[in-house]
């Protein structure tokens, strides 16, 4: 049975009397311990799907099931303990006036878990940050370090599912590599299921087993890793995305303009 089942999901925002259909009738399933990617350009609705799963975007049609059970509204603590999210911008996702310690111990306090001192130290260690960072503020950390803290926070409640919303797009290439490696290692150690959003096909390909290409809120094409590597896409849009991917630019087979 699939861990995440999204069936015919639609998300419609209403702003100033205008309706914006951010996601229209998208279905996907992710098995336990599988990694699934959503790729597309801005406005394709890929991030909105993640936000809809978390209850941060209004669902106007379809259903979301986690472990076979429809998600409750509001999501509640049981959901929080199973599903967590890492946001795109590490500069905006950490509370600027809370120390790292406070940020990491907050989920424990919410869920009434004890031993927060030891757990915070352990969590920092797990994401490769020195314990000395514990009482620093986010502004004292670099982008990559902040994203590590955000990952540590998402893992504090030991969830099964991690939703990753462009976790490395705000980072330098070398830092991106470090963060991707970290995510990779944590996935292996903890048996996590990833649902990852990115605009970068190469990153998605590196991290996930299957990819859904999205455009204007609709699913365009689902590709397995092999199909992507072999450039066996059937839709024009997926191909144009593939061709425009920065990764292809140094392909010796391809003539520079």
């Amino acid at each position: 049975m699939s861990l995440i089942e999204i069936d015919n999901l639609s998300v419609t925002f209403r702003a100033k009397g205008r309706e914006v259909r951010a996601v229209e009738a998208v279905s996907l399933t992710v098995a336990a311990r599988e990694s699934y990617g959503l790729v597309g350009e801005s406005g394709s609705g890929k991030s909105t799907i993640l936000r809809a799963i978390c209850g941060l975007a209004p669902i106007s049609g379809g259903s979301i099931r986690i472990g076979g059970v429809p998600v409750a509204t509001p999501r509640g603590r049981a959901f929080a303990a199973r599903v967590q999210m890492v946001f795109q911008d590490p500069y905006a996702s950490l509370h600027p006036r809370h120390t790292i310690d406070r940020t990491l111990s907050e989920p424990l306090a919410i869920h009434g878990l004890s031993g927060s001192d030891a757990r915070v130290v352990k969590a920092l260690e797990d994401v490769g940050l020195p314990a000395a960072f514990r009482f620093r503020f986010p502004h004292q950390l670099s982008g990559g370090q902040r994203q590590r803290v955000a990952i540590a926070r998402a893992l504090m409640l030991e969830p099964e599912i991690l939703l990753l919303d462009e976790p490395t797009s705000a980072l330098d290439a070398s830092v991106q590599a470090e963060v991707l490696n970290l995510l990779d290692r944590l996935r292996d150690e903890r048996g996590l299921t990833f649902l990852m959003v990115s605009h970068d096909l190469a990153v998605i390909d590196h991290m996930t087993d299957r990819v859904l290409v999205m455009q204007n809120g609709r699913a365009v094409e689902e590709l397995t890793r092999a199909a992507l590597a072999g450039a066996r896409m059937t839709t024009d849009y997926a191909r144009s995305l593939f061709d425009a991917s920065a990764d292809r630019m140094l392909d010796p087979a391809k003539e520079a303009p």
Partner: protein, 281 residues
């Protein structure tokens, strides 16, 4: 032919409470009517280098150079008034995010024609015709509509094209583009790049293309400067980039994931090599 821009030992220093911080430490390059890429990670000083050429560094920042000459004119000795005459007219600059570079309360037409009418004394109709021609040059399909639009009504790609059009109206000899496509989607990015490319070729402009994306720069430029912590660590012909020898350049290339590549951990960037110490005071 003498180079369009020649920079020798450029230094940008910021005086902070804790002492001077050098953002650019001794960068030298020369540029003809070609496409020069400057690549580096955040904090490498690539943006500061671009701004320093236009002397757009605000205090407490200081710009110093042994030599910084644009088309025979000394940029270090130039007065602020002379610099103003150069900026926009002969050296254009395109920034990363058009949202912050366009005036939100003026429509595009007014912003495009303002300079033409005030500075060059064009009449209303002539200025408008020239602005529309510029918008057409950046492949905007319905320039009449875009002329009436306000910046918030434009998409990111459209806004960036308007910015480029605006910079191109005075027909500068040199265009400095600081991450002009980073805020754009990949397919739009390709279009904007080909527009820039055509303009460089057709008008014989010099271009400094600043980016964090090594692959993009390699494909798009003739020559690439790789910067690290305010220094140029390597200068290579773009077509030889894959054969770059410097460990930093190689590290930057290798740490990127590749479609269909191995699932093994990505090689990190080794920041402990002897080259990181090279020449540091």
């Amino acid at each position: 032919m003498s180079p369009l821009l020649e920079v020798q030992n450029l230094r940008v220093t910021f005086d902070t409470e804790t002492g001077p911080v050098e953002a650019v430490r001794g960068v030298s390059f020369s540029l003809g009517r070609e496409r020069l890429g400057i690549v580096g990670e955040s904090g490498s000083g690539k943006t500061m280098t671009g701004r320093a050429v236009l002397r757009l560094i605000r205090p407490p920042g200081r710009v110093e150079a042994d030599r910084m000459v644009f088309d025979g004119q000394d940029l270090i000795a130039a007065s602020e008034r002379e610099m103003r005459a150069l900026r926009g007219q002969r050296i254009g600059m395109v920034m990363q995010d058009p949202k912050y570079s366009l005036n939100p309360v003026m429509n595009v037409g007014a912003q495009l024609t303002e300079g033409l009418r005030l500075r060059d004394g064009f009449g209303r109709a002539d200025a408008r015709a020239k602005a529309i021609a510029a918008l057409e040059a950046v492949q905007i399909r319905d320039p009449e509509r875009v002329m009436e639009a306000y910046p918030h009504e434009l998409s990111g790609g459209m806004g960036q094209r308007v910015m480029i059009a605006m910079m191109l109206i005075p027909e500068p000899d040199l265009l400095i583009a600081d991450e002009p496509t980073s805020a754009l989607d990949v397919t739009v990015q390709a279009e904007v790049l080909s527009i820039l490319d055509a303009l460089v070729r057709d008008r014989g402009m010099g271009l400094i293309f600043i980016s964090h994306d090594l692959r993009l720069v390699a494909r798009f430029c003739d020559r690439v400067l790789v910067m690290y912590k305010g220094r140029v660590v390597e200068e290579v012909e773009a077509k030889n980039l894959l054969a770059a020898r410097h460990p930093y350049t190689q590290g930057l290339l290798n740490c990127l994931p590749r479609i269909g590549g191995s699932r093994a951990p990505l090689p990190g960037l080794d920041r402990t090599g002897a080259w990181t110490q090279e020449g540091t005071p």
